[in-house]
């Protein structure tokens, strides 16, 4: 009996022992790898770098562009807008608004990606032939981070005022990936300093990457273009002008002056004026600014969500090539009724090369940095610099843009008149690209909607086409998303939210 028991026990032990053979217990997913295994070679860095641009593609246009534009003064809600983007348009949005939440989260996930890359790339030891390639990826990551933080600081903080920037609350500054981090808000100055620091690193790392028209990756020109934009916001007139002028001086990106070429630049994604333009294809579709048309394929008529005000259309001279590139008169069906010849925004009609069906999907390659903005930055920085030579150059830059667009040059403008002329030109040139509300904010001007087109097709009510907001309205500075406010006790909410 004793002998048998031992045998029995041995069999049992053997069976249990089998359970410890556990190599089949390591299962890896088919389309993912573990984060720790992903920074080994420069080839890994390359896929990260592609992922960076893919992320960036998902963080321009769409909600990232539309939300401030509908909040601004140029657009009115149609009767069929279905309350899409209604809350920011009425300015009655709260900090749990999905557009606010998604934009905030979008930029921060983009930042997380750049943070992981910036730290992860340090672990890679490149061969001597790969150093330049890896530097380029590092430079891209720094510049992308600078771009994201600049977007965040423009939306969620007061405009940069040199006197108070060190104490004005900015946004949380997160530079390393750590899910257990509960960051407080850094000052506006600290955030801008970080942006400038990242730009400086990118400038160095991308110094050998030549610019090209329509480049789908960052170049040394893109670094300068972003720097010019950032320094303009910082009221660093000299720095902004220097950076913008440097881009203009490359001569790589001539201004378009032909009507057909300019219309196609927008409709068919030309490249001439683009310092940095997202690569889009049918399999890699970009976000779309699809609130402006609403084509009904079966009738060929349109049911847009948002319609430009008459005064906005009237801001463009008949000779201005932007007028027919940005607007088109269309036949509408609103609430089942027909309306003819209503001006609609036609800046993003959808590039036929990107259509996935018989009719437009409103996909256009996002133009993130374009040369016209650099002319306007140079002109505004010059006009506000208080320096006569710079002011004179500002008028030259402004006129170069005006003439290219089919307008007459302005003469003998200085001071406020010159600044106002630059503002008007900025209004025209950069309409519906997400700049307008942020411009009003940094110019400290109120928001006033007036003179709409046919009111029969617009949503009526005091918060729509007659809405007026003073320059100090707290909602110029967005509220921090409710979710983050609730979960992160270290955050301080903006006033008025």
């Amino acid at each position: 009996m004793k002998r048998f028991n031992l045998k029995f026990l041995a069999a049992g032990v053997a069976l249990v022992g089998m359970a410890s053979c556990s190599k089949n217990l390591d299962k890896f997913p088919a389309s993912n790898i573990e984060l720790s295994q992903s920074f080994q070679t420069v080839k890994d860095a390359k896929t990260w770098n592609n992922g960076l641009y893919s992320n960036l593609k998902g963080r321009v246009y769409g909600v990232y562009t539309i939300t401030t534009d509908v909040q601004g003064d140029q657009l009115n809600a149609s009767l069929d807008f279905g309350n899409r983007n209604g809350a920011p348009h009425r300015w009655d949005f709260t900090s749990d608004d999905y557009s606010i939440r998604d934009t905030w989260f979008g930029y921060y996930t983009g930042i997380t990606n750049t943070n992981i890359q910036i730290n992860g790339f340090e672990k890679i030891t490149p061969a001597s032939t790969e150093v330049a390639e890896l530097n380029r990826y590092k430079g891209d990551a720094y510049l992308a981070r600078a771009y994201y933080y600049h977007q965040l600081i423009q939306l969620w903080a007061k405009p940069y005022e040199p006197a108070t920037a060190a104490t004005d609350p900015g946004v949380p500054l997160v530079l390393t990936y750590d899910i257990n981090n509960w960051p407080a808000r850094a000052s506006v100055k600290a955030v801008y300093d970080q942006i400038l620091s990242d730009i400086a690193k990118a400038k160095d790392l991308l110094s050998t990457v030549a610019g090209a028209q329509g480049s789908s990756r960052f170049t040394k020109d893109a670094v300068l273009a972003l720097e010019a934009r950032v320094r303009l916001n910082m009221k660093d007139w000299t720095g902004a002008k220097a950076a913008a002028d440097a881009v203009i001086a490359t001569g790589t990106y001539p201004l378009i002056s032909s009507q057909t070429e300019y219309t196609d630049y927008w409709a068919k994604d030309g490249k001439k004026e683009s310092i940095f333009q997202i690569a889009a294809s049918v399999t890699e579709l970009p976000n779309t600014n699809s609130i402006y048309l609403g084509l009904i394929p079966s009738t060929g008529r349109f049911t847009p969500d948002f319609i430009p005000s008459q005064w906005v259309v009237d801001k463009y001279d008949a000779t201005d090539i932007r007028k027919s590139a940005y607007f088109a008169q269309k036949n509408l069906t609103i609430q089942g009724q027909s309306y003819s010849n209503i001006w609609l925004v036609n800046k993003y009609p959808g590039n036929p090369a990107l259509w996935t069906g018989a009719t437009t999907n409103y996909a256009n390659a996002p133009k993130v940095l374009r040369i016209a903005e650099q002319y306007l930055i140079s002109a505004e920085a010059g006009a506000r610099s208080g320096n006569a030579a710079a002011e004179a150059d500002a008028l030259i830059k402004l006129n170069q843009l005006r003439v290219a667009r089919g307008l007459t040059p302005l003469v003998a403008l200085t001071g406020t008149a010159l600044f106002n002329a630059v503002k008007d030109e900025r209004f025209r040139e950069l309409a519906f690209e997400g700049f307008r509300l942020l411009d009003l904010k940094r110019w400290h001007e109120g928001m006033q909607r007036h003179d709409p087109q046919n009111t029969a097709i617009l949503t009526p009510g005091p918060n729509y086409y007659t809405l007026t907001k003073p320059a100090d309205d707290p909602k110029f500075v967005w509220g921090l998303p409710t979710n983050d406010m609730t979960i992160n006790k270290n955050l301080e909410q903006n006033p008025g939210w």
Partner: protein
């Protein structure tokens, strides 16, 4: 097919005629209550090739050689009895449960167990209660049959998924479906389709191949399945052959189906009614008379059309099934084989399921020590299911939304596509394709070897293979494909599992007088599951309906394939001690490891302990004849829920973030190396009680199961780049009572009445959540102290009689009201889970005529109709049709009603979610009503068949609902939210069962 069958039958008759020297013995096998025992085996002693089985009445007829001495009569669970043959040709045999009751064997985890040894809570369902039902899968048949098992449909589409909850809901994030084990092998269940609205992997399993189903509900019975047992375990055992003459069984059934529940208040308006209410709505909005007429004209006023979309999408669904099986063998080898065909159409257009089945099981006693067993069970289904919910291609939606002023057809008979942007679902039924083809193979090879007496080694390698091909085509002319000029999808999915289990079982007497018996099983099990999928999509199709495959589309959209999977390794052991069948102690232990958890957290132990006391075996009860059974049971233990993502613990970096046609990657999963199993700790106390020779049996259980380490997403600062992280945090508990009652109020030779009642309650309570904070998700809330699946809605207060405005309460006391929806207070009006549910079956038997009626019921839940705002929302969605309930609207000051004034475009956000759109879900349903006639044995003998049974059966013929305002069927899934799904059908079938 039919001709071949008759030929076979004919040949059999001829061969029987040749056995002229035989004599025919007839008789009836009954249990001690006098009820016939179906499927009992009757063989000639010494010659197992000569035998038969009893029919569903317990009758048998057997031609035996003149020299036969005696018969052996046996039935599973009732033991065997030898009957000496005399000159009489009729024998009535009683297999006594009194004597044999404790010897009855039940299929349990990793084997079988005598009923006396069971310490846990186990319910069984026999073949007779599963066979020949007009349901597409076995999980639907379980409804109302097992106390504490809630089986609920969401859709009446043939092949639709069925949700099963055993003893309540125990997880928020992980799975809640029980583990299905078919012949010892864990199989995939649920809906694995990716394009089909709803599908069910168990649709491929033919219920007629099932011998028995055992439901394991507590720790003692289920914890041996360790990390997969938390939601209960359902063991399915398929049919085996039995030694003896080869027996054929042929079952056929035909019938048709119709909508089971209709509420007239939720039928769509006709053209005149729609135009009238719309005119009222426009007037109420303050439109000018000319504007009103212009709007009405655009909506088709007075255009002479009054098309009834509701009638147009309904149809009588056809239902047929045919099953043929053969079984037999000799004392060394037995076999069972079967083939089946099943077809069912739904009660609306574009719904159907066809199934083809085959099964084979062969067992062989190779030596006295070695047994071999091979079985394979295959099924192929073809399914067609329309879209549900808010999709414009949903036929149910279209009946409620499409205007009656717009016909499906133009005057020339062609399809009308001008339907205000909605889809002509009748045209799409012809023009589009939505198709699922599923193939499943389930099977195993097994051997057991008796090393020495009482020591048996068993090895089984089983697999489960499910293949799904889904094809979808949306034509370029109209419907979902129009915007992309036609599109087509081809998706392929393969789920495969294998399980290899090895066990060593040893049983022996521990006391020399036999008073104390013990047995122990130890084992090792390894399992893997893999899910392979590929997806193709293209669009831009030529302008024809003839070319429907993705290869035709000019623009490729999706080309992807991937595989995911997981592995489990386990060591297990089971042991029990039995003292004179009076006191039983059982225990189980399992150590599981799974690839779903990080190496630091990969192993976990699960155990159970069970006790039972067969009081009726005690001397002091032996003398009390009235009490035939009294047993007390208790069990406690732990088990786990591994129903979590395969790679959730990894911090992942995913591909697919491509840029400029180059591969790109980015962080995709925040990961958590500390993730582990949700742990379930069930406590069960039970009582089995039988009196009057078991004419009355009662089984009652009380349970409390606590679930801890619930997987929940914990919010992160979004500045981290992630919104939340899955962690083991949170707990809940379920408590309930289950009662199963069997009674035989009348029992005589010619008439018997059998009654079976089951009753279950369950109460769920969330006991902890991250930081104690509420989690609101859509219409539901998770709140500590409340039940899971609690609705969280603004409380509707009715209509202001003065002006017809909708009102909502602003305080919990139900006094202050507002007409501003956004200012209304959200409350918990109830939950989607029933408080009580169960079934009642009455079976009457009179001279061969049987009447079987099964009622199922479910009480105490709320049902929400989330789409109702469109068709009862006081004018919201004004250009869509409305249902008759809006006719109850407020019209003039002083009107008292609950439907507000009808305003074109909507009245004060009445369409938004509130308690107006929830109703009480209590219902009673006549699930099964069957009237059958058993051909007398004397006629069978003349026809040379062993059994003939004819029946007519109605399913879901009658439904009682508590709430007059219940819009759709009371069965709306576990979440009790109707989703404009295919109607649940009522079915009438005629059938015949033949044995020969």
């Amino acid at each position: 097919m039919r001709r071949i069958l008759f030929t076979i039958i004919g040949l059999l008759f001829i061969s029987m005629q040749l056995l002229a020297q035989n004599r025919t013995i007839t008789g009836k096998v009954t249990d001690e209550k006098g009820a016939g025992i179906p499927n009992a085996s009757v063989t000639v002693k010494g010659n197992p090739n000569i035998g038969t089985t009893t029919n569903s009445e317990g009758n048998f007829s057997l031609s035996v050689p003149a020299n036969a001495q005696s018969l052996l009569v046996s039935s599973i669970g009732l033991g065997e009895k030898e009957i000496a043959l005399t000159s009489s040709s009729t024998y009535n045999v009683t297999l006594s449960t009194k004597a044999q009751d404790l010897q009855e064997v039940v299929v349990v985890a990793y084997g079988q167990q005598k009923k006396a040894d069971i310490t846990g809570s186990v319910s069984t369902v026999k073949a007779a209660d599963v066979e020949n039902r007009p349901f597409t899968s076995v999980d639907k048949i379980l409804q109302g049959q097992v106390a504490g098992l809630q089986s609920v449909a969401a859709s009446g589409a043939p092949g639709a998924n069925q949700q099963i909850r055993i003893r309540g809901v125990s997880s928020i994030t992980a799975g809640n479906e029980p583990l299905w084990i078919v012949d010892g092998v864990a199989v995939s269940s649920g809906d694995a389709s990716r394009l089909t609205t709803t599908a069910n992997l168990l649709s491929t399993l033919n219920p007629n191949d099932i011998e028995s189903i055992t439901v394991l509900k507590d720790a003692a019975s289920a914890s041996i399945y360790g990390s997969r047992a938390a939601n209960g375990v359902i063991l399915v055992t398929t049919k085996k052959g039995r030694a003896g003459k080869t027996r054929f069984k042929f079952d056929a059934e035909v019938g048709q189906s119709d909508r089971a529940y209709t509420n007239d208040k939720y039928l769509p308006l006709n053209a005149a009614e729609y135009i009238a209410i719309t005119r009222e709505g426009l007037q109420n909005r303050g439109d000018s008379p000319t504007a009103i007429e212009s709007t009405l004209t655009a909506l088709g006023a007075n255009n002479g059309t009054d098309f009834n979309w509701y009638d147009a999408i309904q149809k009588k669904g056809r239902q047929q099934q045919y099953n043929l099986s053969a079984s037999g063998g000799n004392d060394r080898t037995t076999f069972y084989t079967s083939g089946g065909y099943f077809t069912q159409e739904g009660a609306i257009i574009n719904t159907s399921l066809d199934r083809y089945n085959g099964a084979l099981r062969v067992t062989n006693r190779a030596t006295d020590k070695l047994n071999l067993n091979v079985n394979i069970n295959g099924g192929f289904v073809r399914q067609r299911t329309p879209l549900a919910g808010g999709a414009f291609g949903n036929p149910i939606l279209s009946t409620l939304f499409l205007l009656p002023t717009r016909s499906a057809y133009n005057t020339d008979g062609t399809y009308n596509f001008s339907l205000g942007g909605l889809h002509n679902v009748i045209a799409l039924t012809d023009m589009d394709i939505r198709r699922l083809k599923g193939l499943s193979l389930r099977g195993s090879v097994a051997a057991d070897y008796k090393i020495i007496d009482n020591l048996v080694f068993k090895t089984q390698y089983g697999m489960d293979f499910n293949d799904l091909e889904e094809d979808q085509y949306n034509n370029p002319f109209h419907g979902d494909g129009a915007s992309s000029t036609g599109r087509a999808f081809s998706y392929y999915t393969r789920l495969s599992n294998w399980t290899w289990s090895n066990t060593l079982s040893y049983a022996r007497d521990l006391l020399s007088n036999g008073d104390l018996k013990g047995n122990i099983t130890v084992g090792y099990e390894a399992a893997e599951e893999k899910n392979y999928s590929s997806s193709l999509q293209s669009q831009n199709f030529p302008p024809t309906l003839l070319l429907t495959w993705p290869s035709v589309g000019a623009t490729p959209i999706t080309a992807a394939a991937s595989q995911v999977g997981s592995t489990f390794n386990s060591a297990l052991s089971l042991a029990s001690l039995n003292y004179r069948d009076k006191y039983i102690v059982s225990g189980s232990f399992r150590r599981d490891a799974s690839s779903r958890f990080s190496p630091t957290n990969r192993y976990a132990n699960f155990w159970s302990l069970g006790l039972s006391w067969n009081v009726d075996r005690e001397d002091f009860l032996q003398s009390i004849d009235a009490i035939s059974q009294l047993k007390l049971r208790a069990s406690y233990g732990t088990n786990g829920n591994a129903g979590i993502g395969n790679y959730s613990y990894y911090q992942l970096y995913g591909y697919g973030f491509n840029y400029n046609q180059s591969p790109g990657s980015a962080p995709t999963n925040v990961g958590n190396p500390n993730l582990t199993w949700e742990t379930n700790k069930p406590l069960n106390v039970g009582l089995d009680f039988g009196i009057l020779k078991n004419r009355l049996n009662l089984s009652a259980d009380w349970y409390k199961r606590k679930t801890e380490d619930l997987l929940l997403n914990v919010e992160l600062s979004r500045t981290s780049g992630f919104s939340n992280q899955l962690r083991n945090i949170g707990s809940m508990e379920n408590t309930g009572v289950e009662v199963q009652l069997n009674a035989q109020p009348v029992l005589s030779k010619s008439f018997s009445w059998n009654l079976n009642f089951n009753f279950a309650t369950n109460k769920n309570k969330i006991t902890s959540l991250p930081n104690g904070a509420d989690i609101i998700s859509g219409s539901f809330i998770l709140r500590q102290g409340q039940s899971i699946n609690s609705f969280y809605l603004r409380e509707y207060a009715g209509v202001d009689p003065a002006n017809g405005d909708p009102l909502w309460y602003t305080n919990g006391a139900g006094s202050a009201t507002t007409n501003d929806w956004s200012k209304a207070l959200r409350i918990i009006p109830g939950t989607s889970l029933p408080k009580q549910f169960g079934g009642l079956t009455n079976t009457f038997n009179f001279m061969g005529v049987t009447l079987d009626a099964q009622l199922v019921y479910s009480f105490g839940n709320l049902i929400q109709d989330p789409w109702a705002g469109y068709y009862t929302g006081a004018g919201f969605g004004a250009t869509f049709n409305k249902v008759r309930r809006v006719l109850d609207r407020w019209q003039k000051p002083g009107d008292v009603t609950d439907v507000p004034k009808y305003v074109y475009g909507g009245n004060k956000s009445f369409q938004n979610g509130s308690t107006f759109y929830t109703v009480e879900g209590d219902y009673i349903r006549l699930r099964n009503l069957q009237l059958g006639y058993q051909l007398p044995q004397s006629i069978n003998n003349k026809l040379k068949i062993s059994n003939a049974f004819f029946y007519v059966r109605g399913t879901n013929l009658w439904t009682w609902v508590k709430d007059d305002n219940l819009p759709f069927d009371p069965e709306q899934g576990i979440v009790s939210q109707s989703n404009l799904d295919v109607f649940i059908p009522k079915t009438i079938t005629f059938g015949v069962n033949l044995g020969f």
